[in-house]
């Protein structure tokens, strides 16, 4: 019984239809949360004890960094499912994740460097979190580069899936070693707030942004997966029906 549900979920025409219908249910709440978070973070939250208004970058930096890791994990899980159960849809999800993750990793790097700049006096420091994000960006590029090196989509799917799984095992190791490396040289991390604990007026907009970005990721995935599924399907029978507007 549960197996037929799972099997149906995996079928491309089903995914195409369901994804299309679900998208607004994720997209609009995402938009609302992000707007609310922006207002809360920029206007309503009080200035920080140490960093004044400069800390407000956290409302875009933290969600971006969160996205960079969330998306990579999703990509790896989808890749593993695609490898183990040979589900085309899972591979489509993994393929869709990469550009999203890479772009938010880039955003995390830029916002992180801008956040530290007034404190550091330079636009870049080998801060452990920024260094980890940079390496993550390289991992994304490697994944996308490997995919594009194959003409055959099936092979691209499966080879890059192995890379994604290897990468996800490595991410915690990389993070640990970079933190360890940084601590040896006692460089202070400035991306921390002066407040001992975050008051709700600061915390709530942050949570809204985190949730809003997550839902946004879901909506983006739904749109992209539909396109990926279409381009992977050769037999046209369901496509003809699905594409009649």
């Amino acid at each position: 019984m549960a197996w037929t549900w799972f099997h149906r979920l995996a079928s491309p025409p089903h995914i195409y239809r369901v994804a299309g219908r679900l998208t607004p249910w994720l997209a609009w709440p995402a938009a609302a949360l992000i707007v609310a978070g922006l207002i809360g973070g920029l206007v309503l939250a009080p200035p920080d004890y140490q960093q004044g208004d400069g800390y407000r970058i956290i409302y875009v930096h933290a969600p971006s960094a969160w996205m960079s890791l969330l998306v990579y994990s999703t990509m790896a899980v989808a890749a593993a499912i695609g490898l183990i159960w040979r589900m085309k849809v899972a591979h489509a999800v993994a393929a869709s994740c990469a550009p999203i993750g890479a772009s938010f990793t880039f955003a995390a790097l830029v916002t992180g460097s801008l956040w530290g700049a007034p404190m550091w006096g330079t636009y870049w420091q080998w801060d452990p979190r920024l260094t980890s994000e940079l390496i993550l960006l390289f991992l994304y590029f490697g994944y996308m580069g490997l995919r594009s090196a194959f003409d055959d989509v099936q092979r691209a799917d499966r080879v890059s899936a192995v890379l994604a799984v290897v990468g996800v095992v490595n991410v915690p190791i990389i993070h640990y070693s970079v933190t360890w490396w940084n601590s040896l040289h006692q460089a202070p991390s400035v991306m921390r707030l002066g407040e001992p604990t975050m008051p709700p007026s600061m915390l709530v907009p942050l949570l809204m942004m985190l949730l809003g970005f997550t839902l946004f990721f879901g909506a983006l995935l739904l749109v992209r997966v539909r396109g990926e599924v279409l381009s992977r399907e050769r037999t046209a029978s369901w496509i003809r029906e699905a594409l009649q507007p």
Binding site: F138, G142, G145, A149, V162, V165, N170, Y176, L184
Partner: protein, 256 residues
């Protein structure tokens, strides 16, 4: 690359011959060639073949020497200025040299069909690739570990640091060969894969670089380097258990 000699001498062919005879025995029973024996045969084969092209063996080492030389030329001839960066330079050069030799890890065997034979042989491809990776380390990593103290001393390291440098680079290059084998397996069918191979492999090797350079740096400074060396060894062991598996998955996909 010249094909191996007479069928009777070629270990790969002997593995295949053993396999067909084993197939005639009762299935599921003991085969006459265990995975370990097959691995040993392949290790011997790879080493033998590599020694036929000695010039190719030397290239990664020459590359290592040249890269090391770039730094004094680019920075300063003063050893006092070089010594603080000696560990990092040695390790960066080692990573790049190890990469150089990676392309050849599977390529020749993929081209002449040997790799496919391994995959079809019924023997665990994981073990066979582990054997090839071991050969790669013996041919690249170990020589690098022996050369590294020379590079270190050229950059200002004291002679007392030699054992520590050898130990750290030897253990680290094991991990590098293993991680590299994954990259080589992934890019098997891709032409001119050099840049992509580097892009894939180097980020994964960064923890090795961090712990290895730290161990080497401590050794150069005369301090105890046990902690980072153990972390390095842990990475090598992790690589030993996981990398051949991932590499064989990648190779199988690419051979389909």
């Amino acid at each position: 690359m010249s094909n191996s000699g007479a069928i009777g001498q070629d270990p790969a062919a002997r593995v295949r011959a053993h396999e067909t005879s084993a197939a005639r025995t009762r299935n599921g029973g003991e085969s006459s060639v265990s995975a370990l024996t097959a691995a040993r045969l392949i290790l011997a084969r790879d080493l033998k073949l590599a020694f036929r092209k000695r010039s190719q063996l030397v290239q990664p080492l020459a590359f290592f020497a040249i890269v090391t030389t770039l730094f004094p030329l680019g920075v300063s001839p003063e050893l006092s200025r070089l010594r603080p960066m000696a560990a990092g330079v040695v390790w960066a050069a080692a990573l790049l040299s190890s990469l150089l030799a990676l392309e050849l890890l599977f390529r020749d065997d993929a081209q002449d069909g040997t790799l496919e034979q391994y995959a079809l042989s019924g023997r665990s491809l994981t073990w066979l690739l582990a054997a090839k990776t071991a050969a790669h380390w013996l041919l690249t990593g170990l020589p690098l570990a022996l050369m590294a103290p020379l590079a270190g001393m050229a950059l200002g390291a004291p002679p007392a640091a030699v054992p520590g440098i050898i130990a750290s680079v030897a253990v680290g290059t094991v991990a590098l060969s293993l991680i590299g084998s994954i990259g080589a397996g992934l890019t098997l069918g891709i032409r001119r894969s050099g840049a992509l191979l580097s892009l894939l492999t180097l980020p994964l090797e960064i923890p090795v670089l961090i712990f290895g350079a730290r161990a080497t740096e401590l050794a150069i400074g005369g301090a105890a380097y046990g902690v980072p060396l153990q972390l390095l060894a842990a990475l090598a062991v992790l690589g030993l258990t996981l990398a051949p598996l991932a590499a064989s998955a990648a190779v199988r996909i690419n051979l389909e």
